[in-house]
Amino acid sequence: MLNIVGRRYLFFGISLVVIIPGMIALALWGLPLAIDFSGGSLLQARFDSGTLPQPAQILEVYRQNGYGDSQIQTSGTDQIIVRTKQMDETTKSKIVAALSKQFNTNITVLRFDTVGPAVGSEVATRAALAVAAAAVGITLYITYAFRGVQHAFRYGISAIIAMLHDVLVVLGVTAILCHFLGWEVDPLFLTALLTVIGFSVHDTIVVFDRIRENSNTFRRLPYETVVNHSIVQTLARSINTQLTVMFTLLALLLFGGITIRHFVLTLLIGVFSGTYSSIFNAAPILVVWENREWRNWFRKDTQEAPV
């Protein structure tokens, strides 16, 4: 039988290899916030002539209207995305008219968003609260659902550690992608993150549930063996479920249009991490806890990870 629990420190190590660079990226570069969080305006427009002028020329029009620090981005062959500080409808219409005149083309406004700075910072605070509330709610539920098992609380905490693992993976990878691909963190990212939290716990519970059942059936076996047995028994299910979710997400990624591409990619990373952590982190953490292995972590003479 596969010995997953025995190699738990290897799997913890793999997690750290992904998480640590991500955290460094997060510390160095941070997460660039979309206007939904930072406040400001975003205009996405199409030049119906099909030819785009140089971004500098577009910026000049914005400068004349008092928006010199705007960021101009091109999208496709005929679209521009311009981020500015907060702008009202009237100014927007004025600038679009000016662009239209200057470059002698009809301009179709595809999207115009404007968000006040107060709303933005409020969303960020609420988002942090939402994650915290979800974590507390889920810990309480698991502790309740596993109330018949010894140390029910451990299951809740381990599930939350595995969940935090997934949150860190998603945040770290996103920080790297944002830095190199110029992505921004928007409410959809937040939605994705919260979904990952839900999925992560969903996955972990399936493994824990089997441990719960097996603990009752095999009372004489060492805890470590019971846990490993449970992981292996649920492996096929874990992989199949992950595959089906990945199929649907891949379909969305490939055919689903550009608006939700970042969202779906974030979900893909999170779902993968969620399955990994439920198999290789959550249940092994229970074993670490049961053996109180941290007492041996900093002793040189003892073997690491007693099996």
Binding site: T90, P187, V206, V245, T248, A251, L252, G257
Partner: protein, 491 residues
């Protein structure tokens, strides 16, 4: 064990004490009825239900990001730290809704978001500038005491765009009362009137008006009749009794729109505004009185405009993606789990029908993240089946009979399904709350579709798949067809 005689498509099982036997025919009939109902609901040209007093359209509601339009978050424009009276905000919401209806937009949404914002969604609106201007027109209507100033001064104040100062400030007033509603009832004599810098006293705000109508006068002219709410009626009675023959100004957004003289005390809370009104100017005044009476000023805190082309494109693409995703999942299930997989695929179609019917019935506004939530819940729906089938295979390998394995698979997988789905539902609830308070309809839509999906998936995995599988099981012998279950050899 050919214990079953097919009868009109329904299998009657004799003997056997496993869980499903007795309920099975009824379950099957109910499921078939359910399928027929959901197909009727999902049918694109569903006429809706119009029976007697029941009038319900059944239509797919598409979000702004799919059809294009304008979304705006209006925020109470009050000095920082001022508490917004919830009642006043709810009144403001109703008024904004009336204005939105005046714009002639179909399927508009106006809802309160948190304790100081109103979310407005105008699907299909093509002129965001005009729409936002109409909503932004805060229209704070006040009845202002002009009794202490001369006609010449009044004439000067009525010059267009002259802004006057009053003692009514947003959600609070300079009087002792904390809210605009109660301030209107405070005795007129309690507050100072014409101060050196000409701060006029607001007798009451438009919030006290209960109805307004244009009438014709005996001489063929027009006048505006109004009815006050009880509190306002009392204030008005006290004030008009004390000030007969003196002018009272109607002030909209701190600009004087009319300054009629008080001819008689208005004691019953009903009065008319007379003057040289034409039908148009009388209507304009009535509309200003009716809809311009926002109890709190509002400003646009954030807005989004999506062009119709972008929405159309997104809709088409995500539909295609959804269909492809579902087909791949169904193919995988059939290949991996064989016969139960095909049964699960059928259950998945039932799942999609039920979930989509619920979306149409509630109705849930479908947005891009909403569709993503739905697609994700397909994954969750499959997961319940995967859990059950994996359990079933284990039991088969452990040497149990097919029927035992099927029932044990269900019984043993249930705690996993229940606990994992409950934790997803907890997340959905928190997401939904977050989306609702912030007015982020996209987040709310996602939480709703995922949550409904999770609930429906529990039903289909437990009831529908099981019933279908029993229907099949009663007609085959496992020992002859073990490969149909993806188990290597007969046990």
């Amino acid at each position: 064990m050919p214990a079953c005689q097919p009868m009109a498509g329904i299998c009657l099982i004799s003997g056997g004490d496993y869980y499903m036997s007795k309920r099975f025919p009824w379950l099957l009939v109910s499921i078939i009825v359910l399928i027929i109902i959901t197909i009727w609901i999902v049918w694109p040209t569903n006429p809706g239900i119009h029976l007697g007093s029941i009038n319900k359209d059944i239509q797919t509601k598409l979000g702004l990001d799919l059809v294009g339009g304008v979304q705006a978050l209006l925020e109470a424009d009050l000095p920082t730290g001022t508490k917004v009276d919830p009642e006043a905000l709810s009144t403001a919401r109703t008024i904004v809704e009336n204005r939105v209806n005046g714009l002639g937009v179909n399927e508009a949404v106006v809802q309160q978001a948190g304790n100081n914002r109103i979310l407005v969604e105008l699907p299909g609106e093509t002129d965001p500038a005009k729409a936002l201007a109409a909503l932004q027109q805060t229209g704070l209507l006040e009845f202002v005491d002009f009794s202490k100033i001369t006609q010449t001064e009044i004439a000067a104040l009525q010059i267009p765009n002259t802004v006057i100062k009053t003692d009514f400030v947003g959600g609070t007033t300079t009087s002792t009362s904390p809210t605009p509603t109660t301030s209107a009832t405070s005795p007129v004599t309690s507050t100072a009137v014409t101060k050196p810098e000409q701060i006029f006293h607001t007798v009451m705000t438009g919030a006290e008006l209960s109805s307004v109508a244009v009438q014709t006068t005996a001489t063929g002219g027009y006048e505006v009749a109004f009815v006050l709410k009880p509190d306002g009626a009392k204030t008005f009675k006290d004030f008009t009794t004390a000030n007969v023959g003196k002018p009272l100004a109607i002030v909209l957004d701190k600009k004087v729109i009319s300054a009629p003289n008080i001819q008689n005390p208005i004691t019953e809370g009903k009065g008319v505004i007379t003057g040289n009104y034409t039908i148009d100017s009388a209507n304009a005044l009535a509309i200003q009185l009716k809809y311009g009476s926002l109890p709190i000023p509002l400003r646009v805190a954030s807005s989004q405009t999506v062009g119709p082309t972008l929405g159309q494109d997104s809709l088409q693409k995500s539909l295609v993606a959804g269909v492809i995703g579902m087909l791949v999942v169904m193919l995988y299930m059939a290949l991996y789990y064989r016969l139960p997989g095909i049964v699960a695929d059928l259950a998945l179609i039932v799942y999609a029908l039920i979930a989509f019917s619920i979306f149409k019935l509630i109705p849930v506004t479908l947005t891009l993240p909403g569709i993503a939530g739905f697609v994700l819940s397909v994954g969750v729906a499959v997961d319940a089946n995967v859990l059950i089938f994996e359990r079933m295979k284990e039991e088969l390998r452990a040497g149990r009979t097919l029927r035992q394995s099927v029932d044990l698979g269900w019984a043993r997988a249930w705690p996993s399904i229940r606990d994992s789905n409950f934790s997803t539902l907890i997340t959905c609830l928190i997401l939904g709350y977050f989306g609702k308070t912030y007015g982020a309809s996209i987040v709310l839509g996602f939480a709703l579709t995922l949550g409904i999906g999770v609930l429906v998936s529990m039903f289909t995995a437990i009831i529908v798949t099981r019933t279908f599988l029993h229907l099949v099981l009663d007609n085959i012998e496992f020992s002859e067809h073990h490969t149909w279950f993806g188990v290597a050899r007969s046990l």
